[in-house]
């Protein structure tokens, strides 16, 4: 599944990014910390449904749906 399909409050682990190493957006997402094995929590969604704030690597990053779709995740039970 991809990051955009998670609900607010759900937790997941990043499993990879859609797109090869030559893809600038994929590379940027991994440079932002969306690396395999990174735990992630959906923090909050903007009132109109987009964008969304995620908790990862000790900070908060906000992505639009289009970018979140590129991040592959596996849902885990949230604490």
């Amino acid at each position: 599944m991809t990051l955009d399909s998670l609900q607010v409050g759900e937790a997941a682990v990043v499993t990879g990014i859609n797109g090869d190493a030559a893809d600038a957006v994929a590379r940027r997402l991994s440079d932002l910390g969306f690396l395999s094995g990174t735990p992630i929590v959906v923090r909050r969604r903007a009132p109109l449904g987009d964008p969304t704030v995620f908790d990862l690597r000790g900070y908060q990053m906000c992505l639009r749906r289009a970018e979140a779709q590129r991040v592959m995740v596996e849902r885990v039970a949230s604490q």
């Binding site: 991994s30 690396l35 992505l63």
Partner: protein
């Protein structure tokens, strides 16, 4: 690269040590930069792109070290031409420019888990490097931990922990700067493959005994309200309301005071300077010009202060988060909202605040449409004409026609700006869009000095650039209104003589020369002269009309309003009919009559292409809108 050929002429100028400061947008890079260079940054542009380049110097042991504050970035793999240029400068690929001798990576200690990604990329460049950890006090306060000595051993380069606002660590960095070119180069380069890098980060974190700090509790609580789907939107409009309240209620009395002071000064000069022409030139040209620059200043300073404060406190990214979807509809992003909003007061700070927008296409689109937002310099024109010529009748209860017209003008400007942005993003600025991402930093109390200095820098820029332009135009216009000096025909009374002089002046001739262009809009040559005058700043339109009516009827003590109402065309019909007034108002909605805005557009886009394009396009839009307004109003009023 350092110079190894002393005596070689090209090298002599280049013997200063150059250090580049790299860090993500909220890492505290600017605080370090200001702390080292003492707030004396020189700004320019990177070649060919619209990214501001800022450099400062620090003298250590008699040696000058040039520090370059690179634009904040999360990554060294470029996704846009803007980022490419910055990285090219870092790697020495820019023509006629050696790469910096050493690099400083500024990393927020509280978010070291992701900062290590950027640190890894910088270390990979294999250059002399220093790692600066900011917010170490906050890390400790939130129960987090990093062993700096172990980090230094791990990375193979020096590590200094700092608290930027308290100057802890800064003396250490300054000391190290003396021989920056000799800082160690990392022996073992971190891996470049993302997966391997992830493992490398894990091992670094383990060996520095990293403990993630507890979440920022104040930010958690604040965001629960400020980003709440309902409360957050209410709070957002509250903040925006306060923003305007401050500008219009605090700045207005200050502006009036400045205006009154210069009126008084002008009066004094006219009274005591013996030669009448010189007195008039000084009071109406020079002093009035300086006055019209300085009346803007209180408002501009307040705007810059608030923008800088909201930005540094961390609210700007929240506002952008809330507004992103709405702005996205029109091809812009959340961060553009703040710029457009500021442009309601003045487009100059609005345009300058677009620097936080990473995509140059979005930035240029925002810069281009900002002048359509109804700035406060239009307000004197609107209020004068509406008060004089729109009937003060009520439509429904307290809602009157006058208020509705004013509201309509604001709305028209805003809607036009949004449509223009959408059109630009689909035509001239079409193309691959950058990925959208925006960090939500914890709320932090900004250093007062940082806010004040950022505001001061911008205000100084405004006074220098806009000031010269507004004052210059004011002086030139006065001269053009008074030369050539003509001798009125014998027997003419004083009023007619003044009017005759005005008509024969260069400005008068120019007003007449452009008559065919503006005649379809119902403008007379006097209005044309005022329009030309308003090129320096829109509110000059009012004072020019005042000057002209005073020149035509010097004995009258009545207000501008009354003189305007009394003005007639050669055939005896009133000048200011409903269709003409509608045309003037609509012309002001669109026309880019503000040379300060043109100058700042030139600076921020790095080329004349955009401001000239905007000027011409908005002129045509203004003419067409005014023409339509004229005809429609004529049809309605049967005039």
């Amino acid at each position: 690269m350092t110079c190894h050929h002393p005596g070689h002429e090209e090298c002599l100028a280049d013997h200063d040590v150059r250090v580049a400061l790299i860090g993500s947008p909220n890492a505290g890079k600017t605080t370090i930069f200001n702390g080292l260079t003492g707030f004396r940054a020189k700004t320019g542009n990177y070649p060919g792109v619209t990214v501001t380049r800022s450099q400062g110097t620090v003298t250590v042991d008699g040696r000058t070290v040039v520090i370059e504050d690179l634009p904040g970035t999360h990554s060294l793999s470029p996704v846009s031409p803007d980022e490419q240029v910055v990285i090219d400068s870092l790697e020495g690929r820019l023509a006629e420019e050696a790469p910096p001798d050493a690099l400083i990576v500024v990393a927020d200690a509280t978010t070291i888990e992701r900062s290590l990604i950027l640190i890894a990329q910088v270390l990979q460049l294999g250059r002399p490097t220093l790692v600066v950890l900011t917010m170490i006090d906050e890390l400790a306060a939130r129960g987090g931990h990093i062993d700096e000595a172990r980090l230094q051993a791990c990375l193979g380069v020096p590590v200094v922990g700092v608290v930027g606002t308290k100057k802890i660590g800064l003396p250490q960095i300054r000391e190290l700067l003396a021989d920056a070119a000799d800082w160690p180069v990392p022996v073992l380069l971190p891996p470049s493959d993302p997966e391997e890098r992830s493992a490398w980060i894990g091992s670094v974190l383990a060996s520095v005994l990293h403990q993630r700090p507890e979440s920022h509790r104040h930010s958690e609580i604040a965001d629960r309200v400020l980003l709440h789907p309902v409360l957050g939107v209410v709070a957002f409009f509250g903040v925006m309301f306060a923003f305007f309240q401050v500008i219009f209620t605090w700045a207005a009395p200050l502006q009036d005071a400045v205006g009154a002071f210069f009126d008084w000064l002008g009066g004094l000069v006219e009274e005591y300077v013996p030669w009448e022409t010189l007195a008039a030139f000084l009071s109406q040209g020079v002093i009035a010009g300086v006055g019209s620059v300085l009346t803007f200043l209180p408002q501009i300073i307040l705007l810059f202060l608030m923008i800088s404060f909201l930005e540094n406190v961390g609210y700007m990214s929240r506002a952008a988060f809330l507004m992103d979807r709405v702005m996205g509809r029109f091809g812009l992003e959340g961060r553009a909202f703040v710029s457009l909003l500021s442009s309601y007061a003045c487009a100059v700070p609005g345009i300058m605040s677009t620097r936080t927008i990473p995509s140059s296409k979005d930035r240029i689109a925002t810069i281009m449409v900002a002048p359509l937002m109804t700035c406060s310099a239009r307000l004197p024109v609107y209020t004068l004409l509406i008060a004089a010529f729109v009937p003060a009748v009520s439509v429904w209860g307290p809602i009157g026609v006058q208020g509705l017209v004013l509201f309509g003008l604001y709305l028209l400007g805003t809607v036009s700006a949004i449509i223009a942005a959408a059109v630009l993003k689909r035509t001239r600025l079409k193309g691959e869009t950058l990925p959208f991402y925006m960090e939500m930093p914890p709320y932090r109390v900004p250093g007062l000095k940082l806010v004040v200095v950022q505001c001061w820098d911008s205000a100084r820029y405004f006074v220098r650039k806009a000031g010269t332009i507004i004052l210059g135009t004011s002086i030139i216009l006065w001269i053009l209104l008074h030369i050539p000096v003509v001798t009125p025909p014998a027997g003419m009374n004083e009023a007619d003589a003044a009017s005759y002089q005005l008509e024969q002046s260069i400005a008068g001739s120019a007003g007449r020369a452009v008559e065919p262009v503006f005649e379809p809009l119902g403008f007379t040559w006097q209005i044309n002269v005022a329009l030309i005058g308003s090129l320096s700043a829109r509110e000059v339109f009012v004072s020019t009309l005042g000057q002209i009516s005073a020149a035509e009827d010097p004995d009258s003590d009545s207000s501008i309003e009354a003189t305007l109402k009394a003005q007639t065309r050669p055939d005896g019909s009133p000048v200011y009919t409903a269709p003409t007034v509608a045309a003037i108002l609509l012309f002001f909605v669109y026309a880019l009559q503000c040379m300060s805005t043109v100058a700042v557009m030139r600076r921020e886009t790095g080329s004349w292409r955009w401001p000239v394009g905007a000027f011409v396009t908005f002129f045509f839009l203004a003419w067409i809108a005014a023409f339509i307004g004229n005809r429609v109003t004529a049809a309605i009023t049967g005039g």
